[in-house]
């Protein structure tokens, strides 16, 4: 396994708030990693920095040895925590859009997944339900053969049945040599699929361990440990 993501002394400050406080983090390829923390802990800031949507105040961030930019955007597949597609487009048009910009986009995989959901390519995105729109977003991201998948709250705001669909879509479609970074606070739903967990709070990394290590050392599940660590 090779190193895919490295953050050194990564700091992000907004006016009077420190969102990330000099964090050091390394992720290896071929793993599913949970980025776990309560709301406002710095998860989304870290994800935006990885995707080049924010510039660090201090420190460095390297993806496959490169700072975030055009080259890393070819290798990182990102699912934001909000609906980001042009609602006037049809499903087919948005697939063509992804195909045009991402060389690693697998059109056949996308259509197969859409077919299974019963979503026709000619339907406009604005006519889809919120749940189906989120599923289309996930399908687009997971249809890429990326090196790093960054999924921000992919299961928040969806019903339990849809959560199962989301998780199975991730498991069945990601490139096994790639790393999947999933940000969430709904740990019990994804604990089974995780290889590693990162606990983040107030911009600091509290813990980064494999799931087996957490269970062996603490004698409890990641969900139980999370509730203990982040208890109010």
């Amino acid at each position: 396994m090779s190193e895919l993501l490295r953050c050194e002394n990564l700091t992000k400050k907004y006016a009077n708030t420190t969102a990330l406080n000099g964090i050091n983090l390394t992720l290896e390829s071929g793993k599913i990693v949970g980025l776990l923390g309560p709301n406002g802990s710095g998860k989304t800031t870290l994800i935006k920095l990885i995707n080049g949507l924010l510039t660090p105040t201090e420190g460095t961030i390297l993806i496959n040895g490169k700072t975030p930019g055009v080259e890393t955007k070819r290798e990182v597949a990102y699912l934001p925590d909000n609906s980001y597609l042009n609602s006037w487009m049809t499903v087919k048009q948005i697939i063509d859009y992804f195909k045009d910009f991402y060389e690693d986009f697998r059109e056949d995989v996308a259509y197969t997944m859409l077919n299974k959901l019963g979503i026709t390519p000619d339907v406009k995105l604005k006519t889809l339900s919120k749940g189906n729109k989120e599923k289309v977003c996930l399908i687009l991201v997971m249809s890429r053969n990326a090196k790093l998948y960054v999924l921000d709250e992919p299961i928040a705001g969806v019903d339990p049945a849809a959560r199962d669909y989301v998780i199975s879509t991730i498991i069945n479609n990601y490139n096994p040599e790639a790393t999947v970074l999933i940000s969430t606070h709904l740990i019990s739903d994804i604990e089974e699929v995780l290889d590693e967990a990162i606990f983040i709070q107030n911009g600091d990394i509290l813990l980064q361990k494999t799931i087996d290590e957490i269970r062996e050392e603490n004698g409890k599940s990641v969900d139980a440990l999370f509730r203990e660590v982040f208890r109010w």
């Binding site: 907004y14 006016a15 935006k48 995707n51 080049g52 949507l53 924010l54 510039t55 930019g69 055009v70 080259e71 955007k73 070819r74 990182v76 990102y78 934001p80 909000n82 609906s83 980001y84 597609l85 042009n86 006037w88 859009y97 045009d100 910009f101 991402y102």
Partner: protein, 269 residues
């Protein structure tokens, strides 16, 4: 990637601009059709003038909506939720800005051309022929007076128009980008920045006029004006040159502000 960026940008414009152009053309055709029933009756006059008013509204709407759409497109595609997709495409910030700017200019000119075509359609017949005759006569006279300079003037004017249009859009882009630095009400902040810029320009222009008026004799403005009056060819070139240079400077400054703000201060909500 730039090719794909152009392709999708043009498509986004076409789906809005094309129907608008078709509506304007339709209004022009209906207006011309109504003129076939000219009988000088009250009913005819009401219908005729209504069609003229509708056409005038269509012309203004076509130009204004193209401008507004160009500005709105920059905002929604880069700074609303769509920005999460736009800024994670393997495309650089300058590519985003320039593609949007170039397509906006092309759309603006296509709307102007459509307005001209519609004007020809609604005045089809004797009026249209006379207008073309007059335009041809003016160009001929102008060419006889200024010879090959006429071609140079046309090139300079086209260049000045393109650069001015580009600078206007870039000014709006810069205001929108700077407005994103506000914590709340970012659109309102962008509008505020635009008005502050406009106010500063007005103040500078007033100061310039006052300085020129006060130091009229020391600056030998009389002599300068007389010199320009005596050399019309040079004056025309100089006028075009000043427009091109001033707008180019503006364009460069607005672009630098937009690029630097997006690159270093991007913060999507």
């Amino acid at each position: 990637m730039v090719k794909n960026l152009f392709k999708h940008e043009i498509y986004a414009y076409l789906r809005v601009i094309l129907p608008m152009h078709m509506i304007l053309l339709g209004v022009a055709i209906i207006g011309r059709f109504i003129q076939l029933f000219d009988n000088n009756s009250t009913a005819y006059n009401i219908v005729f003038w209504s069609s003229v008013v509708a056409f005038c509204i269509g012309v203004v709407a076509c130009i204004m909506l193209t401008l507004v759409f160009g500005i709105r497109r920059f905002y929604t595609n880069l700074f609303s939720n769509e920005g999460y997709l736009s800024f994670t495409l393997p495309v650089t910030t300058p590519q985003h800005i320039w593609v949007k700017n170039i397509v906006a200019i092309i759309s603006q000119f296509s709307s102007l051309i459509m307005v001209l075509i519609s004007c020809c359609v609604i005045s089809l017949g004797d009026v249209c022929v006379e207008v073309f005759k007059a335009a041809g006569y003016l160009i001929k006279e102008f060419y006889q007076e200024f010879n090959y300079h006429t071609i140079l003037y046309i090139i300079e004017l086209v260049l000045a128009l393109i650069i001015s249009a580009s600078a206007v859009y870039m000014l709006f882009y810069a205001c929108i980008a700077l407005g994103q630095r506000a914590k709340k009400n970012r659109v309102a902040a962008a509008v505020g920045i635009f008005f502050i810029y406009y106010l500063i320009m007005q103040v500078l222009a007033t100061i310039f006029i006052i300085v020129v008026s006060v130091f009229y004799e020391q600056l030998r403005i009389d002599e300068l004006l007389q010199y320009l009056f005596d050399h019309p060819i040079l004056t025309n070139h100089l006028g075009n040159g000043v427009v091109i240079v001033i707008n180019s400077i503006g364009l460069i400054i607005f672009y630098a502000i937009t690029k630097s703000t997006i690159k270093n201060k991007l913060n999507l909500e």
